[in-house]
């Protein structure tokens, strides 16, 4: 399993230009994303949460609502994106202005975006993504498909350009995994304890895999 310290180390080796204050703000935004994940857990949803940050300010947050909506695409990222789309259209922003705003936004999410969300983030043209634990079953930022690299989408030959975005994983991943584990171990408080021990052992392997996210 990835350890917390190992991943922070790895993270900041990748982006060596980060200053200490950058590091602190990245961690504090991820804390806010974890808070969103806890809200999902309280609602008996798979605990994944995110915040969208523009110019150092959180402008939207979201958490998983797949169970409540009976719509398995309502991942935290989609929830947060919809908040912004609604708000910006109310304000009368046009296509160009919306695209411009997204291109200055960063996403902090507790679990690696799935293939669907990674493609969505590329479509809206997000600037940068920071995530917690890896998503070994569905991950779209390198675990299964590297959609954050953009070019591999195969759009390069057309007028539309695939948007790449910078992606950094492993930030507070232990906390993100702990939340997921507590969901799968305790789950619905109205339901009896699960008898499947496989969940915990999968997380020990660092798979974090049963996240349908």
């Amino acid at each position: 399993m990835y350890t917390f310290s190992y991943l922070i180390l790895r993270t900041f080796q990748i982006s060596g230009t980060k200053t200490m204050s950058d590091t602190a703000s990245i961690l504090s935004f991820m804390e806010l994303a974890l808070k969103q994940a806890k809200l999902a857990l309280d609602r008996l949803e798979v605990p994944v949460g995110c915040v969208i940050v523009e110019k150092g300010m959180v402008i939207a947050s979201g958490s998983n609502r797949t169970s409540e909506t009976r719509n398995a695409t309502r991942h935290a990222e989609m929830e947060a994106i919809d908040i912004l789309m609604e708000q910006w259209q109310m304000e009368g922003l046009n296509f160009e202005q919306v695209a411009q705003r997204f291109s200055t936004c960063d996403l902090y999410v507790t679990c690696e975006p799935c293939i669907m969300c990674a493609a969505a983030l590329s479509i809206i043209g997000i600037r940068e993504v920071y995530y917690g634990c890896a998503n070994d079953k569905f991950g779209g930022c390198g675990s299964i498909l590297p959609l954050h690299e953009g070019a591999s989408l195969g759009f390069s030959s057309t007028s539309s350009k695939a948007r790449a975005f910078k992606c950094t994983g492993g930030i507070l991943s232990a906390e993100a995994v702990a939340l997921l584990r507590s969901f799968y171990e305790q789950g619905n408080p109205n339901a009896p304890k699960p008898h499947r021990q496989v969940r915990a052992s999968q997380f020990q392997l660092g798979i974090g895999s049963s996240v349908d996210h």
């Binding site: 609602r43 008996l44 949803e45 797949t66 169970s67 409540e68 909506t69 009976r70 719509n71 398995a72 695409t73 989609m78 994106i81 919809d82 789309m85 609604e86 259209q89 109310m90 009368g92 046009n94 296509f95 160009e96 919306v98 695209a99 799935c114 293939i115 669907m116 493609a119 969505a120 590329s122 479509i123 809206i124 043209g125 070994d136 079953k137 569905f138 779209g140 299964i144 498909l145 959609l147 989408l153 195969g154 759009f155 030959s157 057309t158 007028s159 539309s160 350009k161 695939a162 948007r163 789950g187 619905n188 109205n190 339901a191 009896p192 304890k193 699960p194 499947r196 049963s210 349908d212």
Partner: protein
């Protein structure tokens, strides 16, 4: 030519270098070609390589050069060791100098593969013999599949004649349309809301869209819809051009809206139809409060789930939901059977979905996907990616392409 339903395989055809076989060939005098080919076909027919042509014609320095395959060559044998005596004799009679070369081991499954393997040595390509064109649908089911796709085709043209992607989610057992949707990435279609409200508004109106086997409730599709379709402008098909919304346009999307979206870069037809299916689910089965929202095994949920004994048997599943180890549909009254997400449902989409939409359909547990037009730019079900062959995913659907006949 009739409508054809083609299975889209989980794996792309293997690359030619992985599936070749060695043969011995020799350059021959063009005037000897007929004689030699006739003799070789007699003494050494190319068993199991019927797709490989015996003769290769190349132009070398402006002159036509013919080569002929003498026989197969076993991997570890020296050049002439594996040659049958008859072939050896023929080679010495005509003073041939055998060389080793590679040919495709299997017949091509696609035009692209055929082009690739023909670079090695010419092969023949018979689209009609492609094995996966035989999809095994009974005539009755094929007709229904075509009807549903025609229904989707009705949703792809906007009132002002623009073409967008459209999707229809169908319950194949009940013969019922569950939900539909079309692209709303650039504008919201006025017709769409009418359609989705009509379908999702109530169980009664949903059943008016029911299809009886042999019935013809879709018979009123204008015959010219296809001829309008083929030469049209696909640039508004969201799955094909996911970034088009960022491009400058005259209609600037500046219309204000009240608490919802008039357009949204992620509202591809597939996502809209999933959302409509979920809305229908919530509407038809409102009795499921969150705590009772327990998707059961076999893809059905007991709406009247209050039985404490049953509740005790409920086990935590891997998907945020909860399954019962021993609940079976026959124990449940049929009117309270609720599908878990889109388990057991099919979706009909005009254009092959992009990777976002294809993954959304994995999440929503769709059973089968039928699409009409491949999406060479961004298609995730055969064209650019093969998401249906991605082993790590927790759900796998089957993918079919419906080939609409060209006049």
């Amino acid at each position: 030519m009739p409508w054809q339903i083609v299975h889209v395989p989980d794996k792309p055809p293997s690359s030619p270098e992985l599936s070749t076989v060695d043969v011995l060939a020799s350059v021959i005098e063009p005037k000897l070609a007929n004689t030699l080919v006739r003799k070789l076909n007699q003494i050494c027919p190319l068993e199991n390589l019927r797709h490989v042509k015996r003769v290769q014609k190349r132009s070398v320095e402006g002159k036509v050069e013919l080569s002929v395959i003498l026989c197969r060559q076993n991997e570890h044998e020296s050049l002439c060791a594996g040659m049958p005596n008859d072939v050896l004799q023929l080679a010495s009679t005509y003073q041939l100098s055998p060389y080793k070369t590679k040919v495709a081991k299997y017949a091509a499954l696609s035009k692209e593969e055929w082009k690739e393997q023909s670079k090695l040595w010419p092969t023949s390509y018979h689209p009609s013999t492609i094995p996966y064109e035989v999809t095994g649908f009974a005539e009755e089911e094929s007709q229904l599949i075509v009807k549903y796709m025609k229904f989707a085709m009705r949703l792809m043209t906007t009132p002002n004649g623009k073409v967008v992607n459209a999707a229809v989610i169908v319950d194949p057992l009940g013969g019922k349309i569950i939900a539909s949707g079309n692209d709303q990435t650039l504008f919201r279609l006025p017709t769409n809301e009418t359609i989705s409200n009509c379908i999702n508004g109530s169980e009664q109106s949903a059943t008016t869209f029911s299809f009886q086997h042999g019935g013809d409730s879709l018979g009123n599709i204008p015959e010219d819809s296809k001829s309008k379709l083929l030469p049209c402008d696909f640039s508004r098909v969201s799955c094909m051009y996911p970034w088009r919304w960022t491009e400058p346009r005259s209609d600037n999307g500046k219309e204000k809206c009240d608490g919802n979206f008039s357009w949204h870069p992620l509202r591809h037809a597939t996502l809209v139809s999933i959302e409509n299916a979920a809305a229908r689910d919530r509407q038809l089965f409102p009795c499921l409060e969150y705590q009772n929202n327990l998707p059961l095994r076999n893809g059905v949920c007991d709406c009247s789930e209050n039985n404490p004994i049953k509740r005790q048997k409920i086990q935590l599943s891997e998907n945020a939901g909860v399954i019962s180890e021993d609940a079976s549909p026959e124990n449940l009254p049929s009117e309270v059977l609720r599908p878990y997400l889109c388990t057991g449902f099919d979706i009909y989409i005009l254009w092959e979905p992009c990777v976002m939409c294809a993954m959304a359909l994995v999440h929503q547990r769709i059973r089968r996907i039928f699409y009409a037009f491949p999406n060479p730019i961004a298609g995730a079900l055969g064209s650019v990616y093969n998401l249906q062959g991605e082993k790590s995913l927790n759900h796998h659907y089957s993918v079919f392409r419906i080939q609409i006949p060209e006049e």
